[in-house]
Symmetry: C2
Subunit: 453 residues, 2 copies
Amino acid sequence: MGTPPGYRPSAWVHLLHQLPRADFQLRPVPSDFAPREQSYQQALLLVASLAGLGLGLSLIFIAVYLIRFCCCRTPEPPGAKSPPPGGGCATWSCIAALLVGCAGIGIGFYGNSEASDGVSQLSAALLHANHTLSDIDHLVLGLVERLGEAVRTELTSLEEVLTQHTDLVAAARGARRQVEAVVQQLPGLAFWRGVPLSLLQVAEDVSFVEEYRWLAYVLLLLLELLVSLFTLLGLARQSKWLVVLMTTMILLVLVLSWGSMGLEAATAVGLSDFCSSPDTYLLNVTQEETGLSSDILSYYFLCSEAVSNPFQQRLTVSQRALAGAHSNLQGLEREAVPQFPAAQEPLLSLEETLNATEGDFHQLVALLHCRSLHKDYGAALRGLCEDALEGLLFLLLFSLLSASALAAALCSLPRAWALFPPRNPSVSCSGSHLSEPLLRARLEPAPALPSWA
Amino acid sequence: MGTPPGYRPSAWVHLLHQLPRADFQLRPVPSDFAPREQSYQQALLLVASLAGLGLGLSLIFIAVYLIRFCCCRTPEPPGAKSPPPGGGCATWSCIAALLVGCAGIGIGFYGNSEASDGVSQLSAALLHANHTLSDIDHLVLGLVERLGEAVRTELTSLEEVLTQHTDLVAAARGARRQVEAVVQQLPGLAFWRGVPLSLLQVAEDVSFVEEYRWLAYVLLLLLELLVSLFTLLGLARQSKWLVVLMTTMILLVLVLSWGSMGLEAATAVGLSDFCSSPDTYLLNVTQEETGLSSDILSYYFLCSEAVSNPFQQRLTVSQRALAGAHSNLQGLEREAVPQFPAAQEPLLSLEETLNATEGDFHQLVALLHCRSLHKDYGAALRGLCEDALEGLLFLLLFSLLSASALAAALCSLPRAWALFPPRNPSVSCSGSHLSEPLLRARLEPAPALPSWA
């Protein structure tokens, strides 16, 4: 009842989690997230190396295709009228491939921004949780100080005033015992004090890595965009040197695309394993890192009615002691003030302190309740396992699209290049060197084609 | 201290909020969000109508340009060798314009998804707040029932057992009074009971409207993408009927783009006014809709240390009464059980009830604290005023880019069309009708151009 709808693994997580994994000896590896086990690391490396295989295959295919194109042409008489069979649409198919690549770039920008959103959601949730935990610390510290001060000054001066009347002194001592009991209970509530794990540091590390990952992808996307546009420009201007330069660049970007695809695939598979059941793994890791008891961690990680509040006992005892101290002081106010008017000032001051303490106590109860921290946990998981994973899958789609488009462009560019006319500086288009493909067809007599075009 | 970093208006909100607004008589209108005031509505309508003005101007420009192109050509002798000045790059400039339009479409998809993310964040925050409010209701109801039951059965049977001993009966009556005091205080904590505003309904309405908005934009973006691709195809195949059809479609999409731009601009301006200081407006509206007191609403909307918890008094009184009842029962257990063993069962049962009640009370304190609801409020505002506004601005950029690109394409399409050769079914490219722009320039003798090309 008290827990809001939390994190549920998405269909993508289930799908990726069910893919078989194998180590380097191709023995099956269970798909539980275990980043420290060697066989699991090998399984992820194997997924990444599939992309290397893809790169090798596509390079072999391109090489075979181009060798066949260069060497196995049927010789044609110069000035032949019909276009060589299969060689007619090279420019348009290159343009189409580059357009598909550009669509992939759009998808890549979207995926990169989705992944970045997810990670910043994770980092914001970590920061919020850190805020809550340090608030608990400060609140407990403030309460202990305030109550200790009240015991040292006001309760002592009250006892001094009432020293002649043993019954009243006994009541004051009772209030002192109860306040001291509260002061004794409180430090046990600041459970995060002295824990060696800093959520702030984790959030900063995550943001730092994510910043560079985001930048690297933006640079890769811009590089691919520039290469596509300059290739189109090279085709439009029929500039051989530009097309040759861009062919080299496309080869480079092809390698980068396959490389990023390998990284993305391995990360997506690892992330799906983590996201399919994060609670157990995180409970163990956090327990190792923080040394906190498992009932505190289960309370915050699960936050269900089955797990009782581990601070319930301390909170109830403290609150009863506070209420007892309050009723003791009220009794004193009724009985002592008429006899000892000097007791009024410390009594009023003490009641004010108790009232303020009860207000802060309510805030402490709210902060310690699992609701807030569990909501941060859910938000962090949703950021990582929904948005970031979705972004990663879009990036994977981008890498796939761009690898196919670039391979197609690499196949068709040399064919388009072979159709370029010999350099003729007088051909210009409105003062520029842009070719007007459809216009010159009508305006110029056909020069002799190279025999292999 | 207790409040997490909340919502801050972004730079875009400040920028848009500072733009001057005017009503239909061009009198300045203050830029405070007041959707029910006529002058403010007129100011937003005026912003939207600016897009209509833009559409009119661009249509006039296109018409003038095309009329000038058709009528003011200098007649040329048939078979002229040089391309007509300024008419050379029509196809490439049309391709470039359509590519810019496609980039705009990519930006539009991104903006649409960003806006949708923002609105679903708003709707999730509303649902979570609704969850918290109904949890408070259920918890209070459960506590009242449980305590009422304890008073009716166990306390009554305890009093019956102890009836011979007036001191003990007095202690039992004291416990009864205190439990009854708690039962009396509790209903005042369920502040959302009977409020005529359903956050669930609001969240569902928001999601419903957003779903259709999202779908409409996806359809518009797909329409523009298809029109761009088919225009490119028409240029590649040199198909006159396809180009003419696409020119009409481009005109339609141009009108739709300017229309959506008007809607986006007005919404962005209105949203910036709302987002620059949402607290005051929402406080007033919520107070009107719910009839809740302003100190409760300020507590949740502001959640600062300056606003005290309006339930503090009730919570403290209830908790002291519970602690008092508990100490009464403990006294009875010490004194009554040795004399009346029959009292043990109801006493133990009562203490169990009180312990469980205190556990639930801690949960109630956590739910009632402003932290959780204020965090939802902050998340809703960030969703609406950061993500959704950002998405809206990207959509505005898309509309602007696509309106310019489509206008440029409309100007250059007829010029490219004029350069198409007369229909010649024998010209084919690898079995298709795709033109090979760079190839046929070398292969075919130039046919006579129409005199106006």
